[in-house]
């Protein structure tokens, strides 16, 4: 199998598995326990915190461990909203193509009386800093813009947006789930106040994540109870998982340059190959894009059937097709960059892993071409387009 769905989840690295298994065996104590065996677990926990902090240029005290990216996103937004509310600030700026962990939390906040502005992301899938600045109002409590989009891989001008937020004294959160471990992220240089990340997106375990909150930002609990995580996130700490996440993150960050050097040309080769398919189009900016992401729309076909046939050929990929989600609408991300429903249904995301080879790339290109051609072969939509009944969109 060529696993080309690393944006959905990744395989744990060997080093991360080793960290986890060894702690499960030797250091299973509760870090809140006083005896030496418990304190050993506490040490492992705090070492992980240091490693995670270092990987993003933060202070260990600024790292809160969560059960994943979604929890971190929820807690970041709820916390910022609470802080804003206290000062009478009830306006939040975000973008149209955030992850649902952001969008659905924003919706909840709207129901609680917050006003939310979703900025456009334009055809290239990139937010414009000047539009962020223009949207800031007297009562803006928070700007939240994802670091890299999970579907189309576009990297946002986080540093510039951060600088604008600093200038206006507005809190800035970024959902960096698709960025951390994949491209350089530094909370200090990038002017970030709050940042969410998820372990399983960078070869750490599922069910782990973290929230960075700059010193001085008071978090609100999502989970009440014990005094773990400075009282801001109750629940016995998943020390083996957290430490494994730290191991994976450290590895990934140390390896960033090699990762980019390896993946970028393969990504670009696949992009070039798929562009040869008539009436296809790449989704999202080609340059400002994580090294792993390829996303296309193919006119006249539907994404789920494309996926399933690629699966038969041993390629695991993803689609923004409505049919993959059980909803009627295709991906809100593709709609946000201006793809109309008709073609948004026919999308394909390939998110490469470090083990991809040049031969894999060739095989992927050929397979996608074959499957698209095959499906178009009995697509009434395609037939009509070719027959000149209706115009090609792509």
């Amino acid at each position: 199998m060529i696993y080309a769905d690393n944006a959905a989840t990744t395989k744990m690295s060997e080093a991360a598995v080793n960290t986890m298994v060894s702690l499960i065996g030797d250091t299973y104590g509760n870090p809140s326990s006083l005896y030496a065996f418990g304190q050993k677990a506490k040490e492992a926990l705090e070492k992980a915190r240091e490693e995670v902090a270092e990987a993003i240029g933060a202070n260990p005290r600024e790292i809160l461990f969560t059960s994943g990216g979604s929890e971190a996103d929820n807690q970041a937004l709820i916390s910022a909203a609470k802080l804003g509310e206290k000062k009478g600030k009830k306006h939040i700026i975000s973008t149209a193509f955030e992850h649902h962990a952001i969008l659905h939390t924003l919706k909840k906040l709207e129901e609680e009386g917050f006003e939310v502005t979703l900025l456009p992301v334009h055809e290239n899938g990139i937010v414009r800093p000047e539009e962020v600045e223009a949207a800031i109002k007297e009562d803006t409590a928070l700007v939240t813009v994802m670091y890299a989009n999970n579907e189309i891989g576009t990297i946002q001008p986080i540093r510039e947006i951060g600088a604008i937020c600093r200038k206006h004294g507005v809190l800035f959160h970024t959902d960096a789930v698709q960025a951390v471990g994949h491209i350089k992220v530094n909370v200090e240089e990038d002017n970030i106040d709050l940042l969410s990340a998820s372990g399983h997106k960078f070869h750490g375990p599922k069910g782990t994540g973290f929230l960075y909150a700059k010193k001085g930002i008071k978090l609100t609990n999502l989970i009440e109870g014990g005094a773990q995580e400075r009282g801001k996130r109750a629940g016995t700490e998943n020390v083996p998982g957290i430490a494994a996440m730290a191991t994976a993150l450290k590895e990934s960050v140390e390896n960033l340059d090699a990762y980019a050097a390896k993946l970028t040309p393969i990504r670009d080769k696949i992009i070039a190959g798929l562009k040869e398919i008539p009436h296809s189009a790449i989704n999202g900016d080609e340059e400002s894009r994580v090294p792993s992401n390829i996303n296309f729309c193919f006119e006249g076909i539907e994404g789920e059937s494309l996926l399933l046939l690629l699966d038969d050929k041993g390629i695991a990929a993803s689609s923004g097709s409505a049919c993959t989600s059980g909803s009627l609408d295709p991906s809100h991300v593709l709609l946000a960059i201006g793809r109309v429903h008709d073609v948004a249904h026919g999308s394909l995301r390939l998110s490469l892993g470090e083990d991809i080879t040049d031969e894999d790339a060739d095989y992927i290109i050929k397979s996608v071409k074959d499957v698209v051609e095959y499906l178009r072969g009995f697509s009434p939509v395609w037939r009509d387009l070719v027959a000149g009944k209706g115009n090609f969109i792509l």
């Binding site: 006249g300 076909i301 539907e302 994404g303 789920e304 059937s305 399933l308 046939l309 038969d312 097709s321 409505a322 049919c323 059980g326 009627l328 295709p330 109309v340 429903h341 008709d342 249904h345 009995f378 697509s379 009434p380 939509v381 395609w382 037939r383």
Partner: protein
């Protein structure tokens, strides 16, 4: 617990009666690209018998499989029987569809109905 039953996957991978029927005397098209599903049914009806049938589908795995199965269920059958084909029968013949995919079987039923209507209107 796989996404689809074996039957669905079989009809998806090897759709029966796929393509265009040049001498069709009843053609129906339902769905729209905006929703992500379009089915087109071509019928060749003679002496109130579905002599031949073909389909074209733009849609997901279960849409393709539903069209394929629907053609199988009516091929060679009397028109009266074809008229009575329900989406449930299509789904059952496929050993079931996930709840949120039942609309695919509905489309198949509707596509046949539309093709028969077309045939009737041509008479």
């Amino acid at each position: 617990m796989a996404l689809y039953s074996e039957k669905v996957m079989d009809h998806f991978r090897n759709p029966r009666n796929v393509g265009v029927l040049e001498n069709a005397n009843g053609i129906g098209e339902v769905g729209n690209a905006k929703c992500g599903d379009i089915m087109k049914m071509y019928l060749k009806i003679e002496n109130d018998i579905i002599e031949d049938v073909k389909f074209e589908t733009f849609g997901c795995g279960s849409a393709i499989a539903s069209s394929s199965m629907a053609t199988e269920l009516i091929k060679g059958k009397p028109l009266e029987e074809a008229k009575k084909l329900t989406n449930k029968a299509v789904a059952e013949a496929l050993d079931g569809l996930p709840d949120y995919k039942m609309h695919c079987s509905v489309l198949a039923q509707e596509a046949i109905e539309a093709a028969i209507d077309d045939y009737n209107s041509r008479k």
